[in-house]
Symmetry: C2
Subunit: 654 residues, 2 copies
């Protein structure tokens, strides 16, 4: 490896030409199939291809043949543990979604079975979640009052679940999973924290034993509803609520301190339900203002095909709610699945996950289930209980089936206040103060996104918060593209490396040259900015040189290392910069233009205009060549050193 | 300059810490004041600052003191030339906008005077333009029928002009000019070509002498309106139209061939008007189906303050039309101003231009003018006529004033068909086939944007085309951000330079290492993609090495040169990549992380997690260090070369 600076500069390569269809198909592959799912099918026999394809689409065929008794023991324990959480949580979230309590149990029976077949996560535990349930209330409840029209409301919920399934399946099949990526981590942290607070506030109804309540979800409406009816507060309900909430929070705290006792936390909700039911049964508290669940129908999920409503007036509401909640549930489910896959070091295919979520909701909507996903709390319990495969979901579904067949009468006396306590205890863990503070320390803009989502949810509505967060996140991307950074490079002493003089104060300016690094692709959105900013760099440098009495400027070297791409506006801008430099008696040189840029420069004949000899492979070579010219041509070339030309042009720019 | 590869690697610098307020204010300055307009005020006395400030806000104070008789002679000729174009064009475009013909003359009197004071371009000639006039017809005409309610329609037009002025002034004062940049060059080319075709089609009404016509602008409605009333076509009108159109196109062609005779092209419209009027006067053709302008009121612009309507029902229409047309006019005007400033090598301040356009429309809306901008055709004539300063606008305004005071009766017999020919001749030049083909050769995506805008305008409406073009352009930016390129680097023989193996086929892989270049900032929108893509690079490389029987992989070096920025999701992704590599027994190293990235890595403690010793200033140093370790530690370190670990992890990824 020799010192390249002393050799003759090498030519910057224009990448080999590709046909339009070849470059289109490669762009298509990178956009839609970046994970190359067809890779495993290469060089296989047709029968093997069929098996692989089946295993790809229905992963249970892949892992079931390798299933062992050891795995089963682990999955059995995990499945029973999550079932004990699923039953009370299911009933609670159904209350939150304003659908009959039994729907919560139905939703923990069919969807887990579907997921066990199609899902690629080994840890995800399927069920309804709090945010989805709340969103159903707020988005559909706005159009159809769930207390006045419970039947129409339930039909709309099934229809929304159906469309959520359709949207999720389509996103997966069309491999558009990356749309979910536009929900940034920061947005989700703020959104979830806000939603958790909103859900907790909703539980004040249950804790205080209120009969009438607002359908709005924002903090102001809820607090107004609570404090305008202080005379309706029931002390019996309050006392029960505080007792059970304390119990749940204490067990959670204990399990967190001692991870081996995770099952205490997992069992606590069921224990609360049992204790609460016994207490009410013994004291007849239901006659003293403590509301109970009441009658729950025995039996498995009835079909609900006839309940789906595809006619106006509520179709649009159902589609909108389904699409929104479907995408949010996807984002939660896929993120949860990915996180746990990371721990155990296996791979999850986002698009496959979307299809399995979609199938789960499609089938669910036909079997009296409402929207399900992979909620964090249940999955974490599943993981801690040592699950090995998706079979733990089958165990859970079986346990819930038993409950549906034989145990529903036991829930008659379960007090609603216990369910409210269970929800609050689960939600408190989602309020991520730490996460938001962490964002502040690392990235102020992410903090801003997060806090906007949070405030939007708390003071507006869940959708408002979501829209604000996504809009701000995207605006940030556009702003960062339209205002890319440019910085001057200097020579790191005793090397041929050129780096930002700001980051490396030791880097020294090269006399007679301005080396500018452009830190973004050049697109229409930033061409005007870059043109003005480059002008400003030049006159600032000329001012500095003049006041310091140093050599005047002769060369402007643009380091294109970070310019991954350029469009026609960008090429036009480069041409303008070149002409402008020409008039001021300065020479433009490019260092390390990438393949995309070279392709475009070639097609637009800019290589000839700039001159192939002014394009270098590295900044060091550009500097070397310019230095050589500067010292050998100084006396002969007038154009480059004519002070009058520079003078008159400087005037124009002031 | 020594060969840095042989020395001990240098530390990657974390840039000096800045306080939150300092970095906020510097980001603010780069975003809002990239051109540093306050630079000239530094180190000046207060009185000088006042003069400079006044000159900054009202540029006429800057150039008027230096105005010479030589300048005046040039401006006088240019001013008279553009006036001879302004009078017929003004009347024609007023007809296109469905406002009384006299409004077109008013609009060439007051606004040029305002622009002469506030504008910073020396070449821009102010007036109404075809696209703006057409947009008024289509956006306001949809709500208010201009033939049935001419008075209400005119009021709405004034109100729209007022709001266009407000929007333009605000954009300028808030320095939000960069919003206009989101109209990409490609979008504008397609949009303008489409609009030109639409405007030409509208002129079929005048050429064919039709009395009734559609208010829709799309090609299908217009052609249906033309061909359903073939019995209404007037041959007298057709003949006149074809004659004058041929005359105008011929003069244009001649002037283009011989630039010295540009004045033939400039005078042709006025000549046509005079000839046409004389012809009609002598033959009384107005009684044989040739429609004429009719009576034009004598006198200067009447005030129109009382005409502005700030009450419903049409306020929203006026605001929407004003904002849309204002922004489009800005885009045209600023682009035209910039292009001619480029020729003459002086600088135009986009934000100042916006303020002067806004002032011009604000004052215009109070003095019976409708929307004005700096149209390309008139500006080109002004430039060719040798204008020196904005004083040519004053000359034009004076000439139009004379016309308004004394010459309006002369236009009584001017046939509408001549006006239609003038518009068509002007518009034909705007249909930019060449430009669109050029886009196809250079950038297929820009071509797609352009053709979408074109088809949207021609088959939908002007707004549809615009919205489609802007949406596609922005989606392209987002897509390019969410699917950044990654490529493997290889060593250029006999150098310490590492470049893309695709662009430089000579670049050789380094045994035992995978050097990946990430070609974009790392944001939430691309973290999932990058994680999967990096995984794929690794297993593809391992497959390749296995099948070629080469050294297995030990190091993954990420070249961060092009990663200008990273957010919290990106840091999370890097951490996941590091953990993942760790499990597969691979070591992660970073080369050349920039200042923004180092700041974030520092704050999030990622520097410690990756290990400061695994961050290198250049790829060459990273390779050197890894090579050193590979050969010295191979026998001692098991973790790095444990084939079993690699094996079991590979399985997980399939």
């Amino acid at each position: 490896m020799g010192n390249s600076n002393c050799e003759t500069p090498r030519r910057v390569a224009v990448p080999p030409k590709k046909s339009f269809s070849a470059s289109l198909s490669s762009a298509f592959k990178e956009t839609i199939f970046p994970d190359d799912p067809f890779r495993q099918f290469k060089n296989q026999s047709p029968s093997r291809k069929f098996v692989l394809g089946l295993q790809y689409l229905v992963p249970i065929f892949e892992w079931a043949p390798r299933y062992t008794f050891e795995f089963f023991k682990a999955d059995l324990i995990a499945g029973i543990t999550i079932a004990s959480l699923a039953v009370p949580q299911g009933i609670s979230y159904a209350k939150l979604a304003n659908v009959p309590a039994i729907q919560g149990l139905y939703s923990s029976f069919v969807p887990p079975l579907i997921y066990a077949m199609f899902g690629s996560s080994r840890d995800l535990a399927v069920g309804t979640n709090a945010v989805g349930s709340l969103l159903l209330t707020s988005m559909i409840g706005r159009e159809i009052n769930p207390t006045e029209n419970p039947k129409t409301y339930l039909q709309a919920v099934f229809t929304a679940t159906f469309f959520a399934g359709v949207v999720e399946t389509c996103l997966g099949f069309l491999r558009l999973g990356f749309l979910v990526d536009f929900l940034s981590h920061a947005a989700i942290v703020g959104f979830m924290s806000g939603a958790a607070i909103i859900v907790c506030l909703q539980q004040l109804k249950g804790i205080l034993g209120l009969v009438h309540f607002t359908l709005e979800t924002d903090i102001i409406s809820v607090l107004r509803a609570v404090f305008t009816q202080t005379h309706q507060w029931r002390w019996e309900s309050c006392v029960l609520g505080i007792v059970f909430l304390s119990f749940l929070i204490l067990t959670k705290y204990y399990s967190k301190r001692k991870p081996a006792f995770f099952w205490i936390n997992a069992m606590a909700p069921l224990t609360s339900v049992i204790l609460g039911s016994i207490l009410v049964y013994l004291t007849h508290a239901e006659k003293h203002g403590v509301q109970v669940i009441g009658h729950l129908k025995k039996g498995l999920n009835p079909p609900s095909v006839s309940e789906l409503g595809f006619r106006a007036p509520y179709l649009m509401t159902a589609i909108k709610a389904g699409a929104t909640i479907g995408i949010i549930s996807l984002a939660e489910g896929v993120a949860v699945g990915r996180s746990f896959a990371m721990y155990k070091n296996y791979h999850i295919d986002g698009n496959k996950e979307m299809i399995s979520f979609g199938m789960m909701n499609l089938v669910g909507s036909l079997t009296s289930c409402y929207l399900t996903t992979g909620p964090f709390s249940r999955t974490a319990v599943n993981f801690n209980a040592g699950c090995k495969t998706a079979a733990s979901n089958i165990v859970m579904a079986t346990a819930v089936m038993m409950t549906l067949l034989f145990l529903t009468p036991l829930f008659h006396y379960t007090p609603l206040v216990v369910l409210a306590s269970i929800i609050i205890a689960a939600m408190l863990g989602l309020i991520d103060y730490g996460g938001i503070i962490h964002l502040w320390t690392i990235d102020k803009f992410d903090f801003f996104v997060s806090i906007s989502a949070f405030l939007g949810v708390v003071f507006g509505s869940v959708e408002t918060g979501l829209i604000i967060a996504v809009t701000i996140s995207i605006l940030r991307l556009l702003l960062s593209l339209s205002r890319p950074r440019t910085y001057a490079l200097g020579n790191i002493p005793n090397s041929i490396t050129y780096r930002s003089t700001e980051q490396y104060p030791a880097a020294a300016n090269v006399p007679g040259m301005l080396i500018l690094h452009i830190d973004a692709p050049i697109y229409f959105a930033n061409t005007n900015y870059l043109r003005e900013r480059i002008s400003r760099w030049i006159y600032e440098e000329e001012d500095r040189l003049k006041s310091a009495g140093e050599t005047s400027l002769h060369y402007v070297i643009l380091d294109m290392s970070a310019v991954s791409s350029i469009d026609t506006s960008g090429i036009h801008m480069l041409e303008e910069v070149r002409k402008n430099l020409d008039r001021r008696g300065l020479q433009l040189a490019l260092a390390n233009p990438g393949s995309e840029v070279m392709k475009k420069l070639d097609k637009s004949k800019m290589i000839e205009k700039i001159g192939e000899e002014w394009m270098y492979l590295t900044v060091a070579e550009a500097v070397g060549a310019c230095n050589f010219m500067l010292h050998s041509c100084k006396s002969t070339s007038k154009a480059l050193t004519n002070p009058a030309a520079v003078e008159s042009n400087t005037y124009d720019y002031v």
